[in-house]
Each structure stands twice: as structure tokens, then as C-alpha cells.
């Protein structure tokens, strides 16, 4: 990711927003008592879709792939966690938002770590 403050804050804002919204939506759409595996799959798709939709406005301000992939990843992760939680027990809106925010922070940090391990000059070997 980018070390310029504008983009660091932009990445943080984008991922928090997507994760919170994805978590909140999943808490509304997935009722307690659902099969956990099914809830996880549905919630992951919902979260990824939220990330994809919000990429369009967020991407204009903060970048292309550097916004699209993290927001889809974070949305998917937040949806998975909150969706499974909602399937286990009734979940309040505030709880879902808080869980989404935590997932957003975790998600953006995972991307930062992955990016730091992959970026830089590579050995010129076969790849994408």
C-alpha cells in the first residue's frame, strides 16, 4: 500500500466503511438459526458485493486496484465473521457495526502485510 498520508487514511477509511456496512447488512439479512456454513457463504458474497459497489465512488478518490482488492477482501472477511455470528445468535446493529469495524482494521492490516511481502523487485521468473 501507499505510505503517503492521504492514501494511508484513504485505505483505512475505505476498508472501515466497507467492513462496517458489510457487517451491518449481514446482521440484518442473516437470521439466527441459519446453517453456519450457508450463512458464511452468503455473507461472504454480500460482503464482497458491498466492497465492489463501494469501490466505484471510493476508487475515484483513492485509486484503482489498491482500493478494489482490499475493499472486496475486507468486505468478504467482515461478512464471513458477522454472518456466522448472526447465524449463531441474534445480533444487535451496534454489535454488528463494532464487529465490522474490527474486521475492517484486521482486513486492512492483512493487506498491508501481504503487500509488503509481495511488493518490490522480483526475480524474473514465470508468473502473472
Amino acid at each position: 500500500m501507499d505510505s503517503r498520508l492521504y492514501f494511508v487514511l484513504g485505505d483505512l477509511f475505505s476498508n472501515l466503511l466497507v467492513a462496517i456496512l458489510a457487517g451491518w447488512l449481514c446482521s440484518l439479512l442473516i437470521p439466527a438459526g441459519w446453517n453456519m456454513f450457508l450463512a458464511m457463504l452468503v455473507a461472504m458474497v454480500i460482503g464482497m458485493a458491498v466492497g465492489l459497489v463501494l469501490f466505484f465512488p471510493l476508487g475515484v478518490a483513492f485509486g484503482a486496484m489498491e482500493v478494489m482488492l482490499p475493499t472486496m477482501f475486507t468486505g468478504m472477511f467482515s461478512g464471513m465473521v458477522v454472518g456466522m455470528w448472526a447465524a449463531m445468535m441474534p445480533l444487535g446493529g451496534l454489535q454488528a457495526v463494532a464487529a465490522g469495524a474490527v474486521c475492517g482494521l484486521v482486513g486492512v492490516n492483512v493487506i498491508w502485510i501481504l503487500n509488503n511481502s509481495l511488493r518490490g523487485v522480483q526475480e524474473p521468473r514465470e508468473g502473472a
Binding site: 475515484v60 485509486g63 484503482a64 489498491e66 482488492l69 509481495l118 508468473g127 502473472a128
Partner: protein
């Protein structure tokens, strides 16, 4: 001329700058400036588009630039005029390059091979007009080798290829398949946004 691709980019031209987004350009600018600082000799720039990259070109270069879309080049007009150097912009399809063999010392691309319909054929066509020992410099977004990003980019491609680029192209593989020797790959974001430096082998 691939009229289908031409029509797609002609249609995108009026809103391309908005679609490309100021955020992406600002984020990529330092990397593009670093890559384009290598410009020297006879230069071909592929897919000039609306000329968003021109601001990152070093001054005083003599650049031949092509794009398949005349509408894109119309939008690029003021940026071409403002460049402190010489840009000869022409409408041309990369698959049907109207240049003699070994015409250029260097070729530059910027987010281009996500959109060329037959990327290996396009890269081979570029190799024909590149001098032996000449260099290919690319700033490209490609597919990822890693899950879940690979899956996401495959899904995105189903949406984006109708209006513009593919998100999952194996561009580094394509460069090799076209006969270049890859000298350097610099990942800028994950293994998705990268610069590639390759050479047209002498033999």
C-alpha cells in the same frame, strides 16, 4: 483495424478520465515518472488514450504515440500540445503496426495489455518494430497468482471486459510468450500492479 475494439474505446473516450479516476493517477504517478524517466532514443508509446500519462513524461523527448481510438486522441489533443517535447500521435491498431522493422529503440506501455484483444500477437507486433536489443517498458495491472485475489479478479473481469479492460491477464507470461527476455519485474501493489522491463533479444 479491429473496429469492435475501436468502437468500445471511442465510446469510453468522453468519460475515460472520470472512469480512470484522479485517485489512481495520483497513486501511480511516482512510479510512472520513474519508469518513463528511462525514455531515450526513438520511442514508441502504445495506447496514449486521453493522454493522462503525458504529464509524467520527461521533457524534451521525441515520442511516437499510437492509439486505436481517434476519439481518445481528440481528447488527448490539449495534453499533447502542452507537452514540452514532440509527440506524434497516430490512430493505429497494435496488431497492424504501420512502421518498418526495428524502427524504435524503446517501447512504453501504460495499462495497455489489459485491453489488447490478442496480447501475445500484440507484443509480437511490437517486437517486430523494436530494434534488436531494444527495451520494452511496461506499467501494467495483471491478474494475481494468489487467492482470494485471483478469484476476485476473475469475477471482476466478467463485468469489466464489456466496457474496457480485463483484470486477470497473465501479462508477464505473455511477454515471455512473445519472445522477449524479461529483465526486471517490480511489484508495486501485491503482484497485481507492476512494472516490467524486457529486452528484444539480439538473436
Amino acid at each position: 483495424m479491429d473496429t469492435q475494439t475501436q468502437a468500445k474505446w471511442d465510446k469510453a473516450a468522453p468519460t475515460f478520465d472520470l472512469m480512470a479516476g484522479k485517485g489512481a493517477e495520483a497513486r501511480w504517478r511516482p512510479f510512472k515518472e520513474q519508469l518513463f524517466a528511462n525514455m531515450q532514443g526513438r520511442i514508441l508509446f502504445l495506447a496514449l488514450g486521453t493522454g493522462l500519462d503525458i504529464e509524467t513524461f520527461p521533457p524534451g523527448r521525441d515520442i511516437t504515440a499510437i492509439d486505436i481510438s481517434p476519439r481518445m486522441l481528440e481528447v488527448a489533443g490539449p495534453r499533447i500540445a502542452a507537452y514540452d517535447g514532440d509527440i506524434d500521435a497516430r490512430v493505429m491498431d497494435v496488431h497492424e503496426l504501420d512502421f518498418a522493422d526495428a524502427s524504435f529503440d524503446q517501447i512504453f506501455t501504460s495499462c495497455t495489455f489489459c485491453s489488447v484483444p490478442d496480447p501475445v500477437a500484440g507484443l509480437r507486433a511490437l517486437r517486430r518494430v523494436l530494434k534488436p536489443g531494444g527495451e520494452l517498458f511496461m506499467f501494467e495491472h495483471t491478474g494475481s497468482r494468489y487467492y482470494p485475489f485471483k478469484l476476485m479478479m476473475d469475477l471482476m473481469t466478467q463485468l469489466t471486459r464489456r466496457i474496457g479492460p480485463d483484470m486477470n491477464r497473465p501479462t508477464l507470461h505473455n511477454v515471455r510468450a512473445a519472445g522477449y527476455r524479461v529483465v526486471e519485474v517490480n511489484n508495486l501493489f501485491l503482484d497485481v500492479v507492476k512494472t516490467i522491463r524486457a529486452v528484444n533479444p539480439e538473436t
